[in-house]
Amino acid sequence: MNTRPFLGWFVSPAGLVAMGLLAAMLAVFQYSVRTYVPGTLEVGGFTWANFEAMLRPLYAMAFWNTVLICFETAVFTLFLAYPLAYALVRTSSPALRSFILIVSVTPLFLGEVVRTYSWMIVLGNNGFLNTVLLKLGLLDRPVQMMFTAGGVIAALVHVTMPIMVIMLAAALSHIDRNYEKAAESLGAGPIRIFMTITLPLSMPGVVAGFSTAFAWTFSAFATPQLIGGGRVSTVSTLIYQLGFSSFNFPFAASLSIVGLALSLAVIALLKKAASPLERMAGTT
């Protein structure tokens, strides 16, 4: 052991934490196949009924809604985050660079509650957007933006932007600029250079960013709960209602197991679909 000093000391605390996390996940699995006993926190015997109940339209719709919202959010986030990440990596002014970095990263550290609350003021019937549009004469009465899927998506895009910018910027900053210079010297225009060199080489970052945005949105709770106001039902809001309004922890557990499996499956599918692109970027 002389060649590996402290290995045991370095690994065992982490091992304990991993065991705790594993135990918590096992607890969820275990509860998902137990019977709900109304009015208590105790659970009954073994059953598959929780998973069968999920085939009911109400729950199937919530899953479908969640996947759709996550997908739309990830797409919008990608289109907004890419120009920002590009500007962040390629600007020559250090001041502008710091400004873009601080502005795009600060929201990440504000937490979901503060940001969701801010969006409630922006989207409300007496809120910022409605007031501005009414004053400009573009609307004659307030448009309902709270409690709609569109409102939820707008706020979720804002929530996932920073992580997407960071991942795209990391990919863009590792591109060898000589490829672009070579293309330029051969007479390619800026759009052509971007489409044939920069964009393909940044694909690993795009895939990583997209999957992370998807996973984050899938686990978002405060945003769909507060902006959706119970009218946009997602997996996370259902789990909370089942857990804390009816104390049906077994059903909440089975919903979160299926939710987790679904989210992992979509991410794995994204990775698979993008692997030709990643190989293209990897050959350089």
């Binding site: 120009p83 920002l84 710091s98 970095l101 809120g127 922890f249």
Partner: protein, 271 residues
């Protein structure tokens, strides 16, 4: 070098797009800041009259004060424990092969993709089965699990930038492994460890979803108190609190940027 009108147009439209996106990111913060100074008790835009009274209410509301101190307790413990455990583990991963290495790493990084409500629910069930109760140890443990990946990541990055020849030099001069660890390795890693701690602390202080599941009335943190407030009241108190939040966070990050280099920490610096 002369630029064609087309290239200039492209350049300026690119700038306009970036400015518009920055505006989208900044908009909610600006709107919240203006609403916080609204004198009326309902959220309305633009405010008709101005006052600071919601700031006073944010400071005097008991749940917020308690949530703040609870949150600070949880944050300091969780990010310090995560720093010790996570950076040691990252060092071991970086240098050695050992049994279950990849499995352990996978489990510890999994909170990045497992929804936080699943983790929260699991910890809540586990706690009720083992009669642990929703005290501070449970909340702190949940936070350690969730910030550990970020600490590990920042330690990996500083290990990659570490010159191992310095350790070899110390070793060839006869220093024991323990002495090398404390006089060479740890001092060289300190900027990375500090930034990892700061990131973990900010994330832990703001963690909401899992905390909602594992905390009780007595252990609720500030984001949970804020969430409960927004469901009960519609006045601008939360706007005032959000402004304080945004100012403090942006200041911390600006300081971190000038001392530690945010770009380097996040691995987005151009090469």
């Amino acid at each position: 070098m002369r630029r064609s009108p087309g290239a200039m147009l492209l350049r300026w439209s690119g700038r306009a797009v970036v400015a518009a996106i920055l505006l989208f990111v900044l908009l909610p913060g600006v709107v919240v800041a203006i609403s916080a100074f609204n004198d009326r008790a309902i959220l309305q835009f633009p405010p008709q009259s101005w006052s600071l009274r919601w700031f006073w209410r944010a400071f005097s509301y008991a749940d917020f004060a308690k949530g703040f101190w609870n949150g600070l307790t949880v944050t300091v413990w969780a990010s310090s424990i995560a720093l010790l455990i996570g950076s040691a583990f990252a060092c071991a991963i970086h240098r050695y092969q050992f049994v279950l290495r990849d499995l352990l790493e996978g489990i510890l990084l999994s909170p990045l993709i497992i929804p936080h409500y699943t983790i929260g629910l699991g910890m809540l069930i586990l706690a009720s089965q083992t009669n642990v109760g929703r005290g501070f140890p449970l909340v702190i443990f949940a936070h350690v699990v969730m910030v550990l990946p970020f600490v590990m990541r920042s330690t990996y990055i500083s290990l990659q930038n570490l010159d191992t020849r310095l350790e070899l030099a110390a070793s060839s001069l006869g220093a024991t492994p323990l002495r090398i660890l404390f006089t060479v390795t740890i001092p060289l890693l300190i900027p990375g460890l500090l930034s990892g701690w700061l990131f973990a602390a900010i994330l832990s202080f703001n963690e909401f979803t899992a905390t909602l599941f594992v905390s009780s009335q007595a252990t609720q943190t500030l984001p949970v108190a804020m969430y409960n407030y927004v469901r009960e009241f519609a006045d601008p108190t939360l706007a005032a609190l959000s402004v304080i939040y945004i100012v403090v966070t942006a200041t911390l990050l600006t300081v971190a940027n000038s001392f530690l280099g945010l770009g380097k920490i996040l691995n987005v610096d151009a090469h």
